[in-house]
Symmetry: C2
Subunit: 329 residues, 2 copies
């Protein structure tokens, strides 16, 4: 850890989710030096959440055997619509936040420069900065977790759009008569292939009398189901779980083909909690479906890969963002 200790300080990346706060402390070369996690508890309001963010940041810096004075800057990825210029979270439905001046409030508490970005955009920046070599001109990220979001890189830069809402790939309607989505529409990618969607489908199949080995270790109600359980079940030969996960992978592949037809990026990267647990099971089907369904030529020479950053896409992106704004000491 000496590398990150003395020379050049470090950068902190924060992934602020509705359920979980994740912090990574990074060397200026974006190597992870230490990390920490804490539940978010959004019901405690903005002040309560910010107290937990700053606490988690201090845990992570300590975990990296650094002192807070060595932090050059901090970047935070927040859910919802973010105004990156002012560092304000405009609207984050999962946190119930409206117009929260996150940059200003965190800078006051932490006495270090803070930069704010949408969480999926930050994740895409992290992948671009730490993982993709050579740097592609155009790239696309899909992040599959509780919901599904995206990040779009055009000409080497994040594409934020006119009102900073670009990248909402999770609400692409793929099946007009598909299941209802949290957004009120039907058949959005998120309602077909997110963790929430897969769990819902498994529970509903069980209600209809289908059998699954998940009951053995989760009990009758499957209340504490996690993606890791799905992986275990598939390894045990569970047909129901296999078919649900396969179908989700097909929908993700279909979404990739739609997006590739529209944007023709050089690389498509998949990340998020679902990929973290299930990439080795899902990627084959995702790539196969995307290749079968994209227009001729649109996927020629295009890589479709899972990120190697695991759960640290957004934290890496936060660090990369803050490194771009503040040079090492």
């Amino acid at each position: 850890m000496a590398e990150g200790n003395s020379k050049g300080g470090c950068y902190v990346g924060v992934d602020l989710g509705a359920t979980k706060i994740r912090v990574g402390v990074f060397h200026p070369n974006l190597r992870l030096l230490g990390a920490a996690k804490l539940t978010t508890k959004p019901q405690r309001g903005v002040e309560g959440v910010l107290e937990r963010v700053t606490r988690c940041v201090r845990y992570a810096v300590d975990e990296a055997d650094l002192s807070f004075q060595e932090v050059c800057a901090l970047g935070i990825g927040a859910p919802g619509t973010v105004d990156a210029d002012s560092g304000t979270v405009r609207f984050a439905p999962n946190l119930d936040w409206h117009d929260v001046p996150l940059k200003r409030q965190l800078e006051e508490q932490l006495k270090t420069p803070v930069f704010v970005e949408n969480d999926c955009s930050a994740a895409m920046l992290g992948i671009l900065a730490a993982e993709l070599n050579p740097k592609p001109r155009h790239a696309l990220g899909l992040f599959v977790g509780t919901g599904i979001g995206g990040g779009v890189i055009i000409d080497g830069e994040l594409h934020r759009g006119y009102t900073n809402t670009a990248g909402e790939v999770g609400h692409m309607v793929l099946d007009l008569n598909g299941p209802k989505c949290a957004c009120g529409r039907k058949g959005c990618l998120e309602a077909l292939a997110s963790r929430t969607a897969m769990f819902k489908r498994i529970r509903s199949a069980v209600k209809d009398g289908r059998k699954t080995v998940l009951h053995e270790w989760l009990g009758e109600d499957l209340d504490s189901m996690r993606c890791g359980d799905l992986k275990k079940a598939i390894k045990r030969g569970d047909k129901l779980v296999q078919s649900v996960v396969d179908e989700a992978a097909q929908f993700i592949g279909l979404a990739v083909s739609n997006l590739v037809n529209i944007l023709n990026p050089q690389v498509v990267v998949l990340g998020g909690g679902v990929m973290e647990s299930l990439a080795d099971i899902m990627m084959g089907t995702i790539v196969k479906t995307a290749r079968e369904r994209a227009m001729p030529g649109a996927l020629r020479g295009v890589d479709v890969v899972a990120t190697s950053l695991g759960g640290h896409c957004t934290t890496t992106g936060g660090a990369a963002l803050s490194r771009r704004m503040v040079r090492p000491a």
Copy 2:
């Protein structure tokens, strides 16, 4: 026409379609001075088509009361995948063209600089150059005709993508179990809302015994059906045609909402032959559906409009492209 005659010469734009060649001759301010049309006859091969293009160009220049010496440059929008840098049509399935060096061949024949672009990309450039004021940073075009294509403007520039195939919005799958598309997939926007799709649906409904006033002026087989006929039928209160056109408009609105969620442009412009005939009937439903289905905030302040350039989007774009490359004399 004196304005275009003496000072500064003129620019020629060509819309090379599989069915029809359309040429516009433009003042350097992109005002249309003269135009001509000719059938394409792709079965005559590349040489045959190019002879028709040059003939149509000469007709249009004459129509504008200009001489060919006054042409500064020519821009051509071609269907399929185009390498704009070399001016080569890589692959145009509707023309059965593979690797045609369109720029070089036309320059040899016309002795004027020629620039080549994908037809929908050219159309979007034309709309941006001649119609949109102030110029948006991010804009999106959907062109609905025999097929459906798109054009994407990011940061004021055309987004062509990694292998020049970006903008294929017509092959976005919207309904997994929808009708079969020419591309081999099911439920693409093009299979749901193009002219071809609407005509197919009307013919199929008639086979099932539905009544339509179209028979009165087109006979039993509806062979010569055109979009203008649909408009007339709707004005006569034809319920079948109204419902088919409404459904297509809903699918286009849904596609707009998907695209706006992904790209968050400042303006969405609809063009193409179907819009030329049916914009006043379809736009209300398109805008309403897009607004109902886009994510909150993604369509805030965003205009969704039909182009005012009618059938001259691509020719205007060809002229704008060539004007960008060659200054007026």
